[in-house]
């Protein structure tokens, strides 16, 4: 009897340590929060026939607060992307509103599901809104690139969402999804995002992706490599002014 008790006591912390699906989704949602970050990345697109696009560089800056999440993407080089901007925000309701512009006074709305710069980069994915969905379920554990992760399935019934189901394999301690699969309403695979290399964040227990590969349903492969980053980026006051300009121009449109 005593032995059984000891045994139970040994297992108790283990049970406690493994978070449930909702708890895990909450942790992931929390991990996104930042008052400002900036990441510069190289992007290389490979078509299904093996042809490479011209590599390009973009900067992603953003802030993620509980009530409002904002992202801006600046094209750096070459000329085809230079001076092109995207800005997007997602309020508590989960809807994502996005605009594109070359100068802040000529703003046009874009679909948050649109592919950026002919790559598989999608604004909607960058917000990872699925961590806020109500239905979260834990599936089996897996190993990806030699690292343990727990698969969690997030799903939603929201009609105007292209992505209805997301399966993420999360390295719980690093708060990082090593592989993310996005499905539509018919459970057709839309995109797979796989993390290659990672880097430590300022909080040394957490990690961010340094290399990421996105494969979409058509077989287009987009490789992203972050070469410079700032976790305490100071967002300029007018960084998201374009979104306000858009709202002023076309009130009511998403």
């Amino acid at each position: 009897m005593k032995r059984l008790l000891v045994l139970l006591m040994c297992f108790a912390p283990l049970c406690h340590a493994a978070p449930g699906a909702d708890e895990l989704a909450g942790l992931m949602q929390q991990a996104k929060s930042t008052s400002g970050f900036s990441a510069r990345m190289n992007v290389l697109v490979t078509r299904p026939d093996g042809a490479h696009g011209t590599p390009f560089k973009i900067a992603v800056i953003g802030r993620f607060r509980a009530d409002k999440q904002q992202l801006r993407i600046n094209g750096i080089s070459p000329d085809s992307v230079r001076g092109r901007f995207f800005a997007a925000e997602s309020a508590r309701a989960g809807e994502i509103r996005a605009v594109s512009y070359r100068t802040p006074d000529k703003v046009s709305g874009v679909d948050s599901d649109a592919h950026l710069f002919d790559s598989s980069l999608v604004l909607w994915d960058m917000f990872s809104p699925w961590w806020n969905w109500r239905r979260q379920a834990l599936l089996a554990g897996e190993r990806i690139n030699g690292r343990e992760c727990v698969t969690i399935r997030s799903s939603t019934d929201v009609k105007n969402s292209t992505v209805r189901e997301v399966e993420s394999c999360v390295d719980v301690s690093a708060r990082l999804s090593l592989r993310t699969r996005l499905y539509d309403a018919h459970h057709a695979l839309l995109r797979t995002l796989v993390v290659g290399k990672t880097i430590q964040k300022a909080d040394p227990s957490m990690q961010a992706a340094k290399k990421l590969t996105i494969t979409d349903a058509e077989g287009v492969v987009t490789q992203v490599e972050v070469y410079s980053g700032d976790e305490q980026y100071q967002i300029a006051d007018d960084a998201f002014a374009a979104l306000d300009a858009d709202r002023d121009q076309k009130p009511g449109e998403r």
Binding site: K57, I76, Q200, A202, Y227, S228, D230, Q234
Partner: protein, 375 residues
């Protein structure tokens, strides 16, 4: 005729095996020499860069495992640092690894405060220095100029912005020769990090002692949470790349020692097994057991020392060759110090000792009559 000549003769009797053993050892030693000289050179080059700049202390954010500490707002700590005793100048530095030319690997781009002491140690070989803190020009290191194929008056595109090359400079540190330098303001604007730096370099006045240095370090630790004041040597020692390259060279030393000792061991064991009868005869002829041990040891030493000498030449050649490889240009500055080369020779001697010990003892313990009966 003496023991040394006899040992040499014994090795000469089996030229193929002795040759193979020496080759194996020399390859191991070459790997040790090449990797270690590169790792040390790497470290020394960074240190040289900091020493040449005349920097006494570097203040940085307590680093994660990134090779470059993440940027921070200079204003936060700069004033407080300037008020510490003996501090003469506090200068911000921003450093990034960026693509400067599509044909060349990424290079270091440094942003230095215009007019600060950091620039003083550079020697202008062509062109001119930036005219003010905001002029959109870069200075290109002599080596970077070769690698990037850029000279004074040419243009470079960095992060989508075009800069004119104002001049070419030379520094005593290879890291700087391979770099592109612009004013800090320009670098901050370029990388969208207004007001930020990776490092604050502190120059102390001539009256500062070691104790003052320690006091400043202590003050930073106490009054500036999250920051660290270190000497350039400590910074370089903490650098992940330096640490990795040193770990790699240490691992190579370990593996080379093990493999080298095993090779010597195997060769000497084979050799004494073949010579069992001869050892019996030597014992019958009145050889002391100690002389047998000395003989086997001398042979093992000769093999490992010869392997060591060849390995040093090969390794040095390898490191120098890598230095001149296009991909590695400006990143390697191998260092061969005399003590290091002696240490490597010492390592070879160690191989001989480890590899020769058991075979020597085994040979000396042979029963002369049994050895004589051995076919």
């Amino acid at each position: 005729m003496n023991l040394f000549r006899f040992a040499l003769d014994n090795l000469y009797r089996r030229p193929a095996r002795s040759g193979l053993t020496v080759s194996a050892i020399s390859l191991g030693i070459a790997a040790v020499v090449a990797l270690t000289s590169i790792a040390w050179g790497f470290e020394a080059s960074w240190q040289k860069a900091n020493d040449a700049r005349g920097t006494d202390l570097i203040v940085t954010r307590i680093a994660s495992q990134n090779s470059m500490p993440s940027p921070f707002l200079a204003a936060k700590v700069q004033d407080a640092l300037g008020r510490l005793p003996h501090v003469k100048e506090v200068v911000g530095l921003l450093s990034e690894m960026l693509t400067v030319s599509e044909e060349a690997p990424p290079a270091f781009v440094f942003g230095w405060v215009y007019g600060s002491y950091l620039w003083d140690h550079l020697r202008l070989i062509d062109g001119r220095w930036p005219a003010d803190s905001d002029e959109p020009v870069v200075m290109v290191g002599s080596l970077a100029s070769e690698i990037l194929h850029r000279k004074t008056g040419d243009q470079v595109e960095i992060e989508g912005q075009v800069f004119k090359v104002a001049g070419i400079f030379e520094s005593s540190a290879v890291v700087e020769n391979g770099a592109v330098i612009m004013t800090l303001n320009r670098a901050q604007a370029l990388t969208d990090k207004p007001g930020k730096v990776n490092f604050l370099n502190i120059k102390l006045d001539a009256g500062a002692s070691e104790a003052d240095l320690a006091y400043i370090k202590d003050q930073v630790k106490k009054t500036m949470p999250g920051f660290l004041a270190i000497t350039s040597g400590e910074l370089v020692g903490n650098n992940a790349i330096v640490r990795i390259s040193k770990a790699m060279s240490n691992a190579t030393i370990l593996i080379a020692t093990l493999v080298g000792a095993l090779v010597v061991f195997n060769t000497m064991l084979m050799s004494i097994n073949e010579r069992t009868r001869e050892i019996g005869i030597l014992l019958a002829l009145g050889w002391q057991r100690a002389t047998i041990i000395k003989l086997v040891f001398t042979e093992a030493m000769l093999l490992s020392l010869l392997g060591g000498l060849l390995g040093i030449l090969l390794g040095a050649g390898l490191a120098v060759g890598l230095e001149h490889l296009e991909l590695m240009r400006g990143k390697i500055d191998a260092i061969f110090s005399i003590p290091f080369l002696f240490a490597v020779l010492g390592l070879s001697v160690l191989l001989g000792i480890f590899g020769g010990l058991y075979p020597a003892l085994k040979a000396s313990r042979l029963l002369p009559s049994a050895a004589l009966r051995h076919e």
